[in-house]
């Protein structure tokens, strides 16, 4: 029982990270209507930019993370202005191909600048807190708390702010939104800012929990997509639920499956959702 509970904690942390990635995938899908294949590699870039802040600029962890998220958000907008915006009229499949290319470009840039080795942020190793049989690492608690704060902030942004409402309108019906005078290009920019920033945060958390590696983000792209699909693609709240479900499911799977087959859980989740509930648990498009 204690072991299951422990796996549950790990699952929530992993799930929180998946959720932050999946929100971005879902937002982009809702507004721009394509599956953004470079999302995993945006996570990688974010994690490495934070490393740049720590090692080169000598910043403490938190400001370095904020810098990483900001730079990644700006980079994401730049990629959109440079490539995606010009390709948008050619249809969603061209964007799919292009984003696959962007994924590889980002990854090779990371490899060129930082090399292929594993790196760490060099934070002090803090012994885990003990709660009965349960061990909780402070890092994990920090990840969960920040995750909750970010998701709440995003929820408020989407429901209260003007641009957030415009985003939802555009997700519901882009033509109607354009007719109603919503500045669609501005909405697109905001979408990429949010998606990029959240992806970077997910990447930095993942790197904090494990190690930095050029494949960091690509390796979780499948569960991130799975989380977005499970929650109902295009549905932000669904992405959070999907992320948590997937994180917990893949950690719990290690109790019965060899750990090397963890990614298979994500695939099974995708197949199950697509076969039985194509619109996801909470309903998407």
């Amino acid at each position: 029982m204690g072991e299951i509970l422990q796996l549950l904690v790990y699952g929530l942390v992993t799930g929180g990270i998946y959720a932050l990635g999946a929100i971005g995938v879902s937002l982009v899908f809702a507004i721009l209507r394509f599956a953004h294949f470079a999302h995993g590699d945006l996570m990688t870039v974010g994690a490495y930019l934070a490393l740049f802040g720590i090692t080169t600029l000598g910043l403490p962890l938190m400001p370095a993370f904020a810098l990483g998220a900001l730079l990644t958000a700006l980079l994401t907008v730049a990629v959109d202005r440079l490539l995606y915006r010009r390709l948008r009229r050619n249809g969603a499949v061209v964007l799919l191909v292009s984003s696959f290319g962007v994924a590889l470009i980002l990854r090779s840039l990371v490899q060129l600048v930082w090399g292929p080795e594993n790196l760490v942020y060099g934070t002090a190793i803090v012994p885990p807190w003990r709660l009965g049989e349960l061990r909780i690492r402070p890092v994990h608690l920090a990840i969960l708390v920040t995750g909750v704060v970010l998701v709440t902030a995003l929820h408020l942004f989407l429901t209260r702010s003007r641009i957030g409402k415009a985003m939802r309108a555009m997700a519901d019906d882009p033509d109607l939104a354009r007719i109603a005078g919503i500045p669609t290009e501005r909405v697109v920019v905001w979408t990429w800012l949010l998606a990029g920033g959240l992806a970077a945060t997910a990447g930095m958390f993942l790197a904090l929990d494990t190690r930095l590696n050029p494949l960091l983000g690509w390796n979780v792209l499948l569960p991130v997509f799975a989380a977005a699909l499970v929650g109902g693609i295009g549905n932000v709240h669904g992405a959070v639920v999907g992320g948590l479900v997937l994180g917990v499911a893949s950690e719990l799977s290690t109790a019965v499956l060899p750990a090397v087959y963890k990614p298979a859980v994500a695939f099974a989740a995708i197949v199950a959702v697509l076969v039985w509930r194509p619109r996801g648990l909470l309903g998407g498009r």
Binding site: L83, S98, G115, P258, P263, A266
Partner: protein, 319 residues
């Protein structure tokens, strides 16, 4: 001596580019004809490579088999098994929307890779399978290389002829129609699901065959011998550069991109030592930029798709 070296490099280059041309032809069926976004290419390629490796190597205690069968049996079985895997996978995924299929194929590729890496009884795990026999070995070094190149070129010609026939046939028309307007095809009463499954399986079979040819060319296969994602990516760029939907374009794209990829290898070989380890990344970056440039400025590729002229019933006899 220089000339001999150059000639043997040329043969080597053409053989590898030719193998990639085969894979690209396979992807052209899935993407060019039918609009299916497959990034599990390396998975089908690996199924083919491992199938023939297990069937044709001499018995070994380290993996299943080997069964010491001839190359032809290995290649045929590789094609068949890749098709069967695609059939099993396709039954679940093939009627998904483009983006969903794309996501599902990442999963397929990933799981195949995990199985090949971790099921040691089957594949000898990360140590891979060595000693895959090379056909025409009794012709001597030069003769073998030339005969193998001839084999690859003949395979390209055959696969191209078959796919070109499929493209011009009513079957190809239906595939393009599904790609361009699925609802319309449904409305005229075609079994869209079945057509999609057929093109997915056909494409995967060609990829499996190419994987088998590659295994016999290199003589060794392991999960780490090539980066599956780079292979997949390279094949995608080849098709987009050559011209999706055009079989000749697929072949041309494969040779052109492989030439760039190989040239980049020469250039990066001159880099200082501390950069040499990162040369691979530089090449991927280059090819990635090439892809974006083509998408932006020549989305139809070097040889654009030319759909065969529509058939008017009365004219059919006179053709």
């Amino acid at each position: 001596m220089e000339l001999v070296g150059l000639a043997s490099f040329l043969v080597f280059f053409l053989t590898l580019a030719g193998i990639y041309a085969l894979v690209t032809l396979g992807l052209n069926v899935q993407w060019g004809f039918a609009g299916q976004f497959d990034i599990g290419i390396a998975g089908f390629w690996a199924v083919g490579a491992y199938t023939t490796a297990i069937l044709t190597t001499p018995p070994s205690p380290f993996h299943l088999g080997g069964f010491g069968m001839p190359f032809t049996v290995g290649a045929a079985a590789a094609t068949l098994l890749a098709a069967l895997v695609a059939l099993a996978v396709g039954r679940i995924c093939v009627d998904l929307r483009t983006d969903y299929l794309a996501i599902a194929t990442i999963g397929i590729g990933e799981i195949l890779r995990l199985v090949l890496k971790n099921e040691e009884w089957l594949t000898n795990g990360v140590r891979g399978i060595a000693g895959i026999p090379r056909p025409f070995a009794d012709l001597g070094r030069t003769g073998q290389a030339l005969a193998f190149l001839a084999l690859v070129l003949a395979a390209i010609a055959t696969v191209h002829a078959l796919l070109e026939r499929a493209r011009r046939a009513p079957w190809g028309r239906v595939q393009r129609a599904i790609r361009d307007d699925e609802t319309a095809v449904l409305a005229v009463g075609r079994d869209v699901r079945r057509f999609r499954l057929e093109s997915f399986v056909l494409g995967a079979a060609v990829m499996g065959f190419a994987g088998a040819v590659h295994a016999h060319f290199v003589g060794f296969i392991s999960p780490e011998a090539f980066d599956p994602l780079y292979t997949t990516f390279l094949v995608w760029v080849m098709l987009v550069v050559g011209g999706s939907g055009n079989n000749l374009g697929a072949i041309l794209g494969a040779f052109a991109v492989w030439a760039i990829w190989s040239l980049a290898q020469f250039v990066t070989a001159w880099l200082p030592l501390e950069w040499a380890a990162r040369a691979g990344a530089l090449r991927v970056l280059l090819v990635g930029v090439l892809l974006q440039a083509v998408l932006l400025w020549r989305p139809q590729g070097l040889l654009p798709e030319r759909p065969p002229p529509p058939v008017v019933r009365d004219e059919r006899e006179s053709r």
